[in-house]
């Protein structure tokens, strides 16, 4: 599904990705954990095209997407969310998602008909919002949502692009207990149809969702395997699990 081969990136003397290879198979959730500054976000940036890698390649469905720009990768089926929530603040919740739906449904070079009245776009958007649990908030302005709701909205926007693979950068960050339990449930149902690469600090989430787990430290993958294997791995424990709540 998603294949990353020998990805390499440095900022000056600082190497943030050191020969990273990993893959996400169909119906799988591959989690990446690692301490702050390990290079997790930079990795997602490179996969989604926000940053260009120095070396290595990214392939989706066997097709090399390394040379594509951000929007082309999204069109090719790579959806993502941001660690720092990123939505369209002046748009309504529904229009945020409808705008993403529009990218997949016909030309956007239409200049006269009112987009907000296109039932075809709005219906799909509303369904997605209902699915993530924001169905009742669709009329709100995005800027008025709570932090937890914004995270869900961002997920809804990513889903609206009909991705073949989803990259999630710390979706649980800043969520309360009940909110993250709900989000874990949602991601668990999504995983069945949508492979995902999950960067996450929340160990509960990782152990509930991940089929595969890679531990990233200083831009290098120091351990990988099933969550249980990694839990037993002394290198991983030393590097990461030991310091957290594990």
């Amino acid at each position: 599904m998603l294949e990353i081969e020998n990805l390499h990136k440095s900022f000056g003397a600082l190497t943030v990705s050191h020969d990273i290879s990993l893959s996400v198979g169909a119906g799988q959730c591959h989690a990446v954990i690692g301490p702050n500054g390990a290079g997790k976000t930079t990795l997602i940036h490179q996969i989604s095209g926000v940053l260009r890698q120095d070396k290595g390649r990214v392939a989706l469905d066997g097709k090399d997407v390394s040379a594509l720009s951000v929007w082309e990768r999204v069109q090719a089926g790579l959806g993502r969310t941001f660690q720092i929530t990123s939505v369209l603040p002046s748009f309504s919740v529904l229009e945020n998602v409808a705008t993403a739906v529009q990218a997949k449904n016909g030309s956007s070079l239409r200049f006269l008909a009112a987009a907000a009245r296109e039932a075809a776009l709005n219906d799909i958007a509303q369904d997605i919002l209902t699915r993530v649990g924001l169905g009742a908030r669709s009329g709100q302005q995005a800027a008025d949502l709570s932090h937890g709701e914004l995270r869900l909205l961002e997920l809804a926007i990513a889903l609206a692009g009909e991705p073949k693979c989803l990259l999630l950068d710390e979706p649980m960050a800043g969520l309360g207990r009940t909110e993250s339990v709900a989000l874990i449930d949602l991601l668990r149902t999504l995983r069945e149809e949508l492979p995902m690469l999950l960067v996450e600090h929340d160990m509960d989430a990782v152990f509930q969702l991940a089929d595969d787990l890679s531990v990233l430290v200083d831009g290098q993958i120091v351990a990988r395997g099933t969550p249980d294997e990694v839990r037993q791995n002394p290198k991983a424990r030393a590097a990461y699990l030991g310091e957290g709540s594990g």
Partner: protein, 313 residues
Amino acid sequence: MDRSLVIGALIFACLLAMPVLLPLVGAEYLTGLLIKAMLLAIAAISLDLIIGHGGMVSLGHAAFIGVGAYAAAIGLESGIENILVLLLLTLVVTGGIALITGALALRTTGVYFLMITLAFGQMIYFTLTSLAAYGGDDGLTLWSLATFFGSDIVQNRGGLYFVILAVLFLSWFGVYRISQSRFGRVLRAARDNPQRAEVMGYPIARYQLIAYVIAALIAGISGLLLVQHAEFVSPSIAAWQRSGDLIVAVVLGGLGTRNGALLGAFFIVIVEELLSSVIHEWRLIYGPLLVLLVLYAKGGLNDLLTPAAQKGR
């Protein structure tokens, strides 16, 4: 019903009635002032497409008025009389220049975009001043004007007022429609959060460039109409101060709103006229007035007239 639509309709009804009403009160001389305001409004509305809806603050927009005006004037000087042919000429020249300068300017954002549009604007301005054959700095008086297949309906003594009013109406109606269309939605998304729009799958620079060219085309048309009205053209219409006036009109009126640019342009022209007829040092009052308006009417004149809940955004 949408209140901003009612206000807009009222403004146009007034403008339509003016040529009948003004002579009744012996104030025909105000027609010229209204035309001046309408021409400014056309250009301001076009600028609002890129500033208000697109979030691209251009400080070179008046240059496209200049390009349109000179394209028409040079066409007239070369013997082209038909206004439709001149219109085509204006659109081709303005569109071509906008396409090139826009493609380069859109490699930047924010204050750099402002600087580069200013630079392109100044390049165009100085190019116009160096057109020695067409009057250079001093400008050019036109002895023959465009006709509509021989008819003078598109001249001052014919129905130019209504032609300009019609173009103003189309710009007002069209730009707002565009802003609410699929295209406009992408444009507004790119203004709100460019990275998000890109990660929705949109090549945003293309949409921004199209908006930039559309705005330039409308400004170019206002230049053509300006030539027809003034029967004169000079580089000063393309000066960067003119671009500043357009920004003031758009911001004062209310960015990205249905009537903002229209209200702002009329406000500027009317207040300037009123103040300057009362006192000589009118700019001493005009400046503080702008400051107060910007401070106390954040959403611009549009917000004063339209309660927040019903805003024509």
